[in-house]
Subunit: 228 residues, 2 copies
């Protein structure tokens, strides 16, 4: 549960032992990182050994959703109430220090612990599917063909309550050894930037359709159909 | 061990059960993805529950290395021979299908299973530190101040042999339901592109140093000092 100051309680496993100054437990920081990411890495234990799988996700309020085929081995395992750890990492830059030892990366990451539950409620399931589609590309849900009953059945959605979570953030310039600042070695940050390339229309588009609003908005263009 | 055709043997846990056509087990595909990534997500079991942590890494031949503070709880756990799962994921594009159900992402991922070992040999440790620095930014190792004995002691390096690994790759346009191709819905791929922003010099640079060769090469510029 989120505490009165809108933070997650610090538990033994979310408390950062090393470099605690990089830790953040307030809900807004955690939600912002989750909303900015595109994929999570979900960890679970299978036959006693760890398994880490990348997958899409979406946040709705204080719940994280993942989904997949109802036939997926991972989702079946998780739906049985297994412990999971979901981690989302955004890489913001290369931190180039004067020594290899202090070279690092700027990043924002969130680690969520908990147990996932299969979503059985139809409305919650549709809300989660909406959130997945909108999380990938805002504005896409109303553009796509409506989901069918068969598709709903073939999709498993899992809910992970955001109750035990922490963020870890590194920003800013390198932190070098005091005596190294005098060395004639360039140091600084090389930012990493992710953007979109030119949209690639499906070769099977049967008519010359203009780019949809969702794509135009994402690529920051407002080209009208006749400008294409 | 890599087999005669330069592929990893398919084990029960690396064999893709779903969408097996997306699986790849040849060493070159796996190495290329590992070399193109910047961070991995490393999973291990702590008190019976999964933990997934993002961290840097580097590949040298058929070995993967991760490193961290000798005081790190994670590294201490892993060095005791715990099972680990290391996953590297590269996101290449948003696959915008005509239905939410078939919407997806283009990606390349590698999952490695194994047990990590603490690197005790000094030369192997230095080679791994070199590889970490070069993996973050090619050409950086000769530019930074040499590593000290104290730094070597304070750094733990773990080796994970690449013996049980698989890749999963999705490329290309959406695959829609046959009857959906006639719908007047734009479909295609929105590529994701990662690049570098303008380098940010450390405010504590004591003299106006030109950008080093490593950074210039990365940002694709060959500016001379007087062009700055």
């Amino acid at each position: 549960m989120i505490t009165e100051d809108n933070s997650f309680p610090i538990t033994e496993r979310t408390r950062l032992k090393r470099l605690p100054a990089r830790g953040a437990y307030d809900a807004q920081t955690i939600y912002d990182i989750l909303d900015a990411g595109r994929i999570c890495h979900i960890g679970f234990v299978s036959d006693g050994a760890p398994v880490v799988i990348p997958t899409g996700y979406a946040r709705v309020d204080d719940r994280l959703y993942v989904h997949g085929s109802a036939a997926s081995r991972m989702l079946k395992t998780l739906a049985q109430g297994a412990d999971v750890c979901v981690t989302v990492t955004l890489l913001d830059g290369l931190v180039l220090a004067r020594s290899a030892f202090h070279s690092s990366m700027n990043y924002r990451s969130v680690v969520v612990f908990g147990k996932a539950t299969l979503v059985e409620d139809r409305d919650e399931k549709i809300a989660a599917l909406t959130a997945f589609t909108e999380h990938v590309l805002r504005g896409r849900w109303p553009e796509v063909r409506r989901v069918t009953e068969q598709e709903l059945k073939a999709t498993s959605v899992l809910r992970l309550p955001l109750t035990e979570a922490s963020a870890k953030v590194r920003t800013g310039p390198p932190k070098d050894e005091e005596e190294d600042y005098a060395l004639p070695i360039w140091a600084g940050v090389l930012p990493l930037v992710t953007g979109f390339g030119e949209p690639i229309s499906d070769p099977r588009l049967e008519t010359a359709l203009p780019l949809p609003a969702s794509v135009k908005q994402a690529i920051g263009k407002t080209r009208s159909a006749d400008e294409r």
